[in-house]
Symmetry: C2
């Protein structure tokens, strides 16, 4: 007979080995005003600017619906009035031979491209650091794989005569209104990435087939595939090619890989490119009943700058591994792949873990890299899921 | 200087050579109750069961957001109560060695796959038939490219011991509640496709990363990639492998390619596989101002059972053609490709047309195939777009 219908188990629960799964219900915070349109039942609200997707709500489609995409804004969401005339939004382009301010209407004439990419907060997985770093305790849900459409930055640079001599950084500056009385450099969202990142970068006006919502950076967002979310500047007002990295605080001292206990400073590595990573999303992640017998162990895997080549799954905490199959269309190297392994889980306790390898040969490590900010956690052990089938 | 910013034109309008673009505003019908959550501003409401996407609202992302996906239901949408326990929804599988009724919870254990595919109503493009066939006068918007996730029908058949001997059709029966007092065969939504279509078919519970909404066939829908929408049975209650085609009226007399003036009958070809097709979506489709100068002519192209290999664009109604570039990730052979051609349009009148070729060598024809029902219109001439730049 069909497997999976033979010996149904009874109640079960699921928990990450390190951190209990946060369940909805009493005490759940309401959705922030700017994202009232999101699917509350699939999200965990941390604060008015931080919302993550529940581990059991990733689905199997490969693309994260916009109403399930995590939210993490460094500054309060701008006033909705900036969306009144999206075609008139302007970005100043500097560090090219013919610097110029261009509106969205004009950008649309210069080219169009679409990229599927993982957008992930630098601190995704922070909740699994036993040191409890300050910052949002993201579990797995500060990440999504989405489609961005806009004009390639390359096409804009070409239309403006090419890059100025000697530039080695691409710097984006956000258009958020800054509080008065503070040094703008201490608060502005401004990030620099190596000029090589320009290759696949977009100035985007569309997210998953619709205009980018305000909370996600509309009318215009700089998209830097393969880099952590903070590098994809929302409400972009200035795109500068430069010989120096930005001296804004968020660049010089924020998002640095600092030794445990230390503060960020410019001598430390910056959080930029993402690393190979995967996690299991089913079964057991949604705190629902898991039955014994046949199941499809599912999850997502990505490689940052390189496509995923392999995902291995273990049901015994990493003692024995099996290669999972990749599910659905390949959306390109910056996207994640859904994976699935058909398995038979008897009654008892199972620790499900997964481990991704990318096409450059990087293998997801067992251990996290300790750092003060709780960044870049791609430990496969930390991302395990304990499933008890009674 | 950057092209496209030099000589801005003034007002412009856009119209299909055959049929004026329907504009929103006064007289627009409200969204049907079952799809109140859709994006009204991007849709044209024909009736309580027929809604299409505006030509200017396809975006560039390759995937159609669920809130922009067309709606076409042959029967009234079932009561929302069928969504109360989606995991308990049952489908009876017949024509296998071990026939059995399976619930969604069990289907999930048997396998999982995701397919990106064009879902298109058989009558999309009917508005361009000068004969004005009865039926919804769809322009281009009774189509979308979406992601479906579920269990491969193959895996279900395998779990049930394989196909019974001699079966050559796969027949799906919808679970809509039928009006009393009528012969069920005269009204039930039941369609047969050749058994070969089983190869990539799914029993799906997820659309674009979320549970399938009621209006689109949730909790469970049969998905038959490459076939027109009517063959992907909503609320599927019965999946039968059989030696004969269904004798339901919608199969025997509906959706037939009948000579102009004739009625459908079983001797005529059935509307099943889709044909190679494309249309332009920008500029000019949204009735907004089109400026002279550089522009990106964009659209979508698909091949039904075969991937698109080439799209050509003409700005003079088909006198001269240029090959467009394909935009965004390749989502597989059942998906459509976005395409774009960088062009310079001076003031004046331009008739934009496009023509797709699939990997089997099929070329989108100039002329529609006349038929009584107004089905399968893939004429490139009919789908042209006249743009006047003043």
């Amino acid at each position: 007979m069909a497997a999976g219908v033979s010996a149904a188990g009874s109640a079960a629960f699921a928990a990450n080995p390190a951190t209990p799964v946060q369940t909805p219900g009493a005490g759940a915070k309401p959705l922030p005003t700017a994202v009232q349109w999101k699917d509350a039942s699939s999200l965990i609200v941390h604060s008015s600017t931080t919302v993550e997707l529940k581990r059991g709500s990733f689905g199997s489609s490969g693309i994260t619906p916009t109403d399930r995409l995590y939210l993490r804004n460094n500054l309060p969401t701008p006033d909705a009035s900036i969306m009144a005339e999206p075609e008139a939004w302007e970005v100043s382009v500097e560090g090219v031979r013919k610097p110029r301010t261009l509106d969205v209407r004009t950008l649309r004439t210069l080219g169009v491209e679409t990229v599927a990419m993982v957008m992930q907060c630098s601190g995704n997985g922070r909740a699994f650091f036993p040191s409890k770093p300050s910052g949002t305790p993201w579990q797995v849900g500060a990440a999504g794989c989405v489609l961005w459409s806009g004009v390639p930055v390359r096409a804009v640079v070409e239309a403006l005569g090419g890059l100025a001599d000697g530039v080695i950084f691409m710097t984006g500056t956000g258009g958020e209104k800054l509080p008065e009385g503070l040094d703008p450099k201490s608060i502005v969202v401004e990030r620099s990435v190596p000029i090589a990142a320009m290759g696949d970068a977009l100035l985007a006006w569309e997210l998953n087939g619709s205009p980018i919502p305000l909370a996600h950076g509309g009318p215009l967002r700089l998209i830097v595939p393969g880099y952590t979310g903070v590098n994809s500047i929302k409400y972009i007002r200035r795109l500068a090619f430069s010989t120096r990295e930005s001296d804004a605080h968020i660049m010089s001292h924020g998002y640095r890989i600092s030794p445990p206990g230390a503060k960020g400073d410019p001598t430390q590595p910056s959080v930029q490119e993402m690393s190979v990573k995967s996690w299991i999303t089913s079964p057991g992640a949604d705190a629902g009943q898991v039955r014994s017998g046949r199941t499809q162990i599912q999850g997502v895997a990505f490689g940052g700058l390189h496509a995923v080549s392999k995902v291995e799954v273990s049901t015994d905490g990493g003692e024995n591994w099996q290669v999972a199959r990749l599910v659905g269309p390949d959306l390109g190297k910056y996207a994640w792949r859904q994976f699935a392994l058909s398995a038979n889980l008897p009654t008892g306790t199972h620790t499900l873990v997964c481990r991704a390898t990318d096409q450059a040969g990087n293998v997801q490590p067992r251990e996290r890299m300790e750092n003060a900010g709780g960044y870049n956690n791609n430990s496969w052990a930390d991302h395990g899921l304990k499933v008890v089938i009674a």
